[in-house]
């Protein structure tokens, strides 16, 4: 069970502390801290930018930057939520409810310190859980055959679509459409053109990088620019004046509620493992759990109770390890950003799943170590540099957008060496924007694009090896049964979360908006 893990851990640690890798980790952390501090839509597509360089980057340098950024994104999320009442992402809405009132009481510094400490502990909790899961995942994967891997691929595509609750059919349609697009190219049997519209350019299929850039990056930049609302500088200055006091008290607040943090971290981890449920569900579940179980919370939550900041922030960071578990260990990306990460790994030559727990175990353990170190460094930096981060985070989107778009354009050419792929970017940008506008989830489409090749490969192998009997294999049926049960469970979790969050919001924000002018609680959700 543990064979090879120790030597893999040594290799991973060695890589982590090599100069270039460590520098990229710091760069990723810096980007994550800044991006996390941006109010609404601040999830800049770093992975998408880096995808253009996937062929030339050392995998450890690339993963250090990407995972470092991802690990601390949630650490500075609470900055605009607490200081301005604007959630840094939809996984931060609950933090506004108690964080902003605390700031208005002059306790911004204390609330932020408590949030950072909770994030740190939650993140480390997730790391420990990830490490604990790896040996068992290795044993489990050894029992799988091609039929089970085919089913895993289908689960990856369909699960995310199924749990797009309120958009079940749209989610499945997006997945089917993605699968259809991924089949463009040459057939795997004879290598003849398949669904290429008669164009030679499509003989090799459509490259993943311009598709993902078009689907995600461009619409997100559009959202950033379109949604830009000027933030009152005076309000920010007033709040920033109070962030330095109360840090020690905030840290002690978090440490004094270690059981609350533990429960919230469990929630974040569990929600992260379930593909498709999403970060905002973890956030709200942790908040609601704290409200129901903590003494006197029902009366004090929403009025400036520190526990209302601690619980959701712990869940917010433990979910990062949670989402990586199915992605790296089983090749099932549970969200759009994990699908993009998977695409990135595949482009670098790593196939998530069995190999990541086998010959590439050092890279997997490296990711775990990066998560741990990033949480520690990120929380420490955030604690002392909140004013700087807050000001950078409120940068004019019309400054960021052209820089990112320029980088993306270069990245597309670098990866594909073809200007024609800029047309692909344009086409998929339009598609991504229309899907976003019409409420069609994009993650199922991306996941299908990433998984299509392995789905087709394992399907063929399974049919050749087992015939139709592949559907009757005990492992296959067991996995199918568990998947169906998990899907129902997840839909139930979502339904409860939706009802609960709507009820919580209604009860609390009515009182808050009367007492706190300028407070803005949105009902969007996060691409996490």
């Amino acid at each position: 069970m543990f064979e090879g893990m120790f030597s893999a851990a040594l290799i991973a640690a060695q890589q982590l502390f090599s100069p270039l890798v460590f520098l990229s980790l710091l760069a990723g952390i810096a980007m994550g801290l800044v991006v996390g501090a941006m109010p609404i839509g601040g999830n800049l597509p770093l992975v998408v930018v880096l995808m253009g360089f996937a062929f030339v980057l050392d995998p450890y340098i690339a993963m250090a930057m990407v995972v470092g950024k991802m690990a601390v994104n949630g650490t500075t999320d609470p900055i605009p939520a607490i200081l301005l009442g604007i959630p840094g992402s939809a996984s931060c809405q609950a933090t506004v409810l108690d964080g902003y009132p605390l700031a208005r009481q002059g306790l911004a510094g204390r609330a932020l310190a408590a949030a950072y400490m909770s994030s740190l502990i939650g993140g480390l909790f997730g790391v420990i859980a990830f490490l604990a899961v790896i040996p068992f995942a290795r044993i489990l994967l050894q029992q799988f055959g091609s039929a089970e891997f085919f089913l895993l691929g289908l689960i990856g595509i369909s699960m995310v679509g199924i749990v797009s609750s309120g958009a079940l059919i749209k989610g499945l349609l997006a997945g089917a459409f993605g699968l259809g697009i991924a089949l463009i190219g040459t057939d795997p049997v004879l290598g003849l053109p398949r669904a290429t519209f008669g164009s030679e350019f499509l003989y090799d299929g459509i490259s993943l990088i311009p598709m993902i850039i078009g689907l995600f990056a461009v619409p997100e930049m559009l959202n950033l620019v379109v949604s830009d609302s000027p933030v009152a500088k005076e309000r920010l200055d007033l709040m920033l004046g109070k962030v330095h006091s109360g840090r020690r008290a905030g840290i002690m607040d978090a440490l004094n509620h270690k059981w609350l943090i533990t429960r919230a971290s469990f929630i974040g981890l569990f929600v992260g493992i379930l593909p498709g449920v999403g970060g905002s569900a973890a956030h709200w579940l942790a908040y609601a759990q704290a409200r129901e179980t903590e003494k006197g919370a029902r009366q004090t939550f929403g009025k400036g109770d520190m526990r209302g900041v601690i619980a959701p922030e712990a869940a917010n960071n433990s979910i990062d390890a949670g989402v990586l578990i199915p992605t790296l260990c089983f090749g099932i990306p549970g969200s759009g950003s994990m699908a993009v990460l998977m695409a990135f790994l595949i482009l670098m030559g790593f196939v998530p799943g069995q190999s990541m727990l086998g010959e590439h175990l050092p890279l997997t353990l490296f990711v775990v170590f990066v998560l741990a170190l990033s949480n520690i460094i990120g929380a420490t930096v955030a604690l002392f540099f909140t004013p700087v981060l807050a000001r950078i985070g409120l940068m004019n989107p019309n400054v960021l957008a052209p820089l990112i778009l320029a980088l993306l354009s270069v990245s597309v050419y670098q990866a594909t060496s073809s200007l024609l792929n800029l047309w692909v970017v344009v086409g998929f940008s339009v598609l991504g924007t229309v899907m976003k506008r019409c409420g069609w989830p994009r993650p199922p489409l991306v996941i299908a694009l990433v998984l299509a090749e392995s789905v087709e490969k394992y399907f063929s192998i399974s049919l050749n090896a087992y015939g139709v009997g592949m559907f009757a294999r005990p492992q296959f049926l067991l996995m199918l049964g568990l998947t169906v049960a998990a899907a129902f469970y997840m839909l139930n979790v979502q339904r409860k979360t939706r009802r609960m969050s709507a009820r919580e919001l209604e009860e609390i924000t009515e009182a808050m908006t009367q007492a706190t002018p300028g407070l803005r609680v949105t009902t969007g959700t996060a691409l996490k």
């Binding site: 030339v56 349609l173 057939d187 506008r437």
Partner: protein, 190 residues
């Protein structure tokens, strides 16, 4: 021209606009957009069925399953839409996995204006890349966009543009030895 942020809360879509005349019939811009999207998706599934007609069964299997499954989903989607419209049920707006546009409090005019602005500039940048190449198009795009819409001082915008030129030349030309396409303008002139 930069859009006046003071317009954020003024909605100028009065009753005489094209969409306001259509909305009593239930025809909204979002419905038209979604119809186009569904047509595109359904059309592609039909194409997929036709495109694999002459391929061997092993090569045609998954595309056929995907296309047939997809078309069934399209039918289910349309049926759901009609049922909801007939029973007055609002469309579901929550998705856990993706965000819509965050346009709370913004007027339609502002949304359309900003969307068009970024789209046209982005499209212009891509056209400029084809015409004059990356080394000229990218720095110019960055410089002018920052200057006009980024409220940046000219020397900062120029520094950013120069920075991008150095990035392209330093990293891509010297380190990665990228081979760039010949710009169209150079091709015509030569």
């Amino acid at each position: 021209m930069p859009i006046d942020p003071g317009e954020a809360n003024r909605d100028r879509s009065h009753g005489r606009s094209f969409w306001n005349r259509l909305s009593p019939m239930g025809i909204t811009p979002d419905l038209v957009l979604e119809s186009i999207l569904v047509s595109l998706v359904a059309g592609y599934f039909f194409y997929l069925l036709l495109a694999v007609k002459h391929l061997r069964p092993e090569a045609a299997r998954l595309p056929r399953m995907t296309a047939i499954g997809g078309l069934l989903l399209v039918v289910a989607f349309i049926a759901q839409k009609i049922w909801r419209a007939m029973h007055g049920k609002p469309n579901a707006t929550r998705q856990i996995l993706d965000t819509g546009f965050d346009e709370e409090g913004l007027s339609n005019r502002l949304i359309v204006g900003r969307t068009l602005r970024l789209s046209l500039w982005f499209g212009g940048m891509l056209a400029a890349i084809w015409l004059v190449g990356y080394h000229v198009a990218i720095p110019l795009f960055v410089f002018f966009y920052l200057l006009v819409f980024g409220n940046t001082k000219w020397w900062l915008a120029a520094t950013a543009g120069a920075g991008f030129f150095l990035l392209i030349y330093g990293l891509f030309d010297l380190v990665l030895r990228t081979i760039w396409p010949q710009p169209a303008l150079l091709r015509w002139l030569s």
